[in-house]
Subunit: 208 residues, 2 copies
Amino acid sequence: MRKLSVTVDIVLLTIRDRQLQLLLIKRSATPFANRYALPGGFVKESESLDAAAVRELREETGVDKVYLEQLYTFGDPRRDPRGRVITVAYYALVPHTQSLRAGSDASDAAWFPVTRLPSLAFDHRKIVEYAHLRIRNKLDYTNVGFELLPAKFTLTDLQLVHEAILGETLDKRNFRKRITQKAIVKPVEEWAQTGRRPAQLYRFSDSD
Amino acid sequence: MRKLSVTVDIVLLTIRDRQLQLLLIKRSATPFANRYALPGGFVKESESLDAAAVRELREETGVDKVYLEQLYTFGDPRRDPRGRVITVAYYALVPHTQSLRAGSDASDAAWFPVTRLPSLAFDHRKIVEYAHLRIRNKLDYTNVGFELLPAKFTLTDLQLVHEAILGETLDKRNFRKRITQKAIVKPVEEWAQTGRRPAQLYRFSDSD
DNA sequence: ACAAAAGTGTTCCATATACACCCATGT
DNA sequence: ACATGGGTGTATATGGAACACTTTTGT
């Protein structure tokens, strides 16, 4: 009987250039050498699945504080030509401000817009599509958008995040009304200095 | 290194006595001998996760045609005292009309209301809670309720399913308005003969 | 002065909610 | 006749969608 392995793969998402982008790593080893793949790796004997995802993300991308959520488990017996490998997929969200100090085994990492992906290794394309679908749905009924922004942000920043995820433009007045009357955000006593006219900065208002 | 195993466990739900109930099987083997557990078992080398769930459900409960959806993967390294066992949890929905011919290795199967569970083996209680949460949410934005009914049903039947899942009573007129104007159901040329006054039978209207 | 993004209200429509009585059938 | 569940409409409240102009700043 072939050896059974379990891996975690992570769809790491951020907003760059007003687009939803994800991090891919170019494989050097076979199979799928020189193809891009999701960051991820084998689950160790004594670690939980979540811990494995956090560790792989740190090792391969240098990303540390991150929103992480389990997505789906892919277990087609032929998804990996090397043998039976079941993968537990996660998605992760980081503000673009987080710097990437790519680890030693991830020298060839790059961001790609979710709408313009290169050819991917394994069934990773399917995993990415699933992650994209999930975050679009989740935006409707959660505050998941904040995970992609720094602690202080303008309402325009937040709107751009929503637009990038949904792939459509939103009405400014309706958007601001919705956000403010849900009391999801609180203004802070600061104004953004970028661009022309200073904009009110806000923060996510979970605590008070 | 300990051997790594992957199992599937299935939360099989139905409506009985106007309550959401699930099927549990009394374990005979150690660990957790004589405790109730979810139907499930090891994933075979050459079968997909979905196929394993279908197979285990058939073997252990005799249930065949069934709505099945992957729920979440539980991988705490200490969730099974025998070693490292990662389980991919599913939930399944069947009309109560489906008969159970419990298989040889499931002689001690019984239905329990989700709100009144016995002490369960492993982390199965957590899995059940997760399934209950998922189906309640899913009811809002899908037609998942039909999976718990036979092909032809009355609107009262459907309302009872919703009430059982949500755990609250619903207004009859509002419920019927919502269901009928979404064109989710179609009347058939038949009337239920049970009880006092015959009720219009409907069917789910996916096709046409 | 002009360019660029910030900020701000009202109207309309669709959907959800609250609420009570008559009807058809079997016993 | 009565008990049981089947069936029906209206008024109100709430949330989403459409829609355009003025303000503030830097150059």
